[in-house]
Symmetry: C2
Subunit: 342 residues, 2 copies
């Protein structure tokens, strides 16, 4: 079905292309009557702007500000995905500018977000990790009509253009299923949380809740699952893990657990952790970790840019919710979830 062009609309409406353009862009200076006529004809003719002509004329480079941390492999992988997309869309006018911040340092977040906004970007990719301050930044973006996409974490009230990430609660639920496979009454579980910044994380909480819900749904003894806040490795030399069969590590520190356990003791437990980072991969390979749930950080980064590309350049509708699959990584499918981008 052929689309009508501005010129054709102009002819049908008996006006000039300038007028049609003013109507379609709501630039004013056109009588109500002609406006209605033009809109009617445009609709009937199935008008949609010609992406090629539009961008050729505008000849614009779209600046995307990327507001994420850069302090570990997970975020560096996100960055790689973003850079990959940016490169791919480079000659279509996409340009990514990074404003990496330090999660421990609120000032660094505020400073960088401020710098980012001052640059007047056309779109923003951000990780809304700062519970209180992120909404403020989003408010400023909304005010300036700058579309923004969340990666990793979501704050749906902030009304982002899209969210790219994972369902954390469900990932905990799935973890319980995997780890308890073959058991009829549930296995004794220690949830290991190192007492660093990650322990206050909202994501962490939801994963744990998901895990516990699995036991609840099966009427298994809730006492089987215990949370431990670990200060240092001396924890593991105590007798706390006696009788425990499962170690559930709801963040990327599973490799740390293996190391701190020492002396091949990790073979006594079923262990599941998060994020396919190198130290975890090593543990998967040598068999000390059984499962890793991967969040596909590279794909997240890639999709966040792709979403903004679609919005800004192609002006097409975008998926508001891009949930990454709960990707189960084991020693056996490691190579493939690694080599494959998707």
């Amino acid at each position: 079905m052929k689309r009508i062009t501005i010129k054709e609309i102009a002819k049908k409406a008996g006006v000039s292309v300038g007028t049609v353009d003013r109507v379609l862009h709501d630039r004013g200076e056109v009588a109500e009557k002609t406006k209605k006529l033009v809109l009617k004809i445009a609709k009937e003719g199935n008008y949609s702007t010609n992406v090629f002509a539009r961008n050729l004329k505008l000849n614009k480079t779209y600046k995307l500000a990327v507001l994420i941390p850069d302090d570990n492999e997970y975020w560096r992988t996100q960055k790689i995905g973003i850079e990959r997309a940016a490169k791919e869309y480079e000659h279509l006018g996409i340009q990514a500018l990074f404003y990496t911040f330090d999660r421990q340092n609120l000032g660094s977040f505020l400073e960088n977000s401020d710098k980012a906004i001052k640059e007047e970007p056309d779109g923003v990719v951000m990780a809304p990790l700062m519970g209180k301050e992120s909404p403020t930044v989003c408010a400023r973006l909304t005010e300036n009509d700058i579309p923004f996409v969340f990666v990793d974490s979501n704050i749906s009230q902030a009304n982002p253009l899209a969210f790219v990430g994972q369902d954390t609660f469900q990932s905990g639920y799935l973890s319980a299923k995997l780890l308890n496979y073959g058991s009829k009454k549930g296995l004794s579980t220690a949830i290991i949380i190192y007492s660093d910044y990650d322990s206050k994380n909202k994501t962490l909480r939801e994963r744990i809740n998901g895990y516990k819900k699995y036991y609840e749904d099966r009427d298994w003894d809730q006492a089987l699952v215990t949370e431990y806040i670990v200060e240092n490795k001396s924890f593991f030399s105590q007798e706390k893990l006696k009788g425990v069969e499962i170690l559930f590590v709801p963040n990327s520190r599973a490799h740390q657990v293996c190391m701190d356990l020492g002396e091949g003791r990790e073979a006594n437990y079923r262990i599941l952790g998060y994020d396919q980072i190198q130290p975890n991969v090593d543990c998967l390979k040598n068999g000390s970790i059984d499962f890793i749930i991967n969040q596909n950080p590279q794909l997240q980064g890639y999709l966040s840019v792709q979403t903004l590309y679609k919005k800004l350049i192609v002006s097409s509708d975008v998926e508001e919710l891009n949930l990454m699959p709960l990707e189960v990584v084991t020693k056996e499918n490691l190579a493939y979830s690694n080599s494959s981008f998707y």
Copy 2:
């Protein structure tokens, strides 16, 4: 970094844009000396064609011929992915034309592929399921300079633009890991193959090989794994499955196995199958199937079109190997691998 335009090249070289254009398109009618000069300047200026200007001028709709089966939910889901991508890229000039064929009927494949090629498509998405005849079709496409992308199965010798699918061998290997979780010496396994057309499948064979390799790598007793060709449900009333702990169904028929077992007997086995089709999903939900390995058919379809879009319209490099993750689906992450596109 700004890219040089044709006009700028012309100016620098002291020739007209027409000449530059002839050089860049190798249309001849230009002296060797000027040709070299133009190419040098183009290279130095980091020239690449402006996608917007190019497509505006050409104003072309690219016909993509899609040569796949349509006989089950898996392929219909592939089709949905393709349609989704086609719709998304519609106003960029992409148009998908379907030539669905019947896998049982060689004539239908030949007829449809012939029809497809006669339409002179700009690109082709195909499932090379016909071992002997697919290469012939590919040869014709190569002859006519029509790029083609394989989905689901690969024949790398045919030199496709890209392959979108899964690593079948590894998926079998992973299946063995999941099903034997918690066991130290391997569990007794029956591989169930219904004696229909699927049984001759190459994909099927590779999955089984992967499964067996897992036992081999662990020095488990190979006799633990037995293949059964099943004619009909009477098989299950015999005593063949006595002592068997695992049922590995290397295709999408796991639901059939559950049904044919009957009387809740499926609860006695650990069962894994392939493809997240509705009957399998139902079995996952009621707990009769433990794991499904999903091949992400919708994503496959989507990516195959996206690949051709990149090649034809954006003229960018494309990923030659797009391996889908070995997505493990359980009752617990079902909703999410369902609702999520990626």
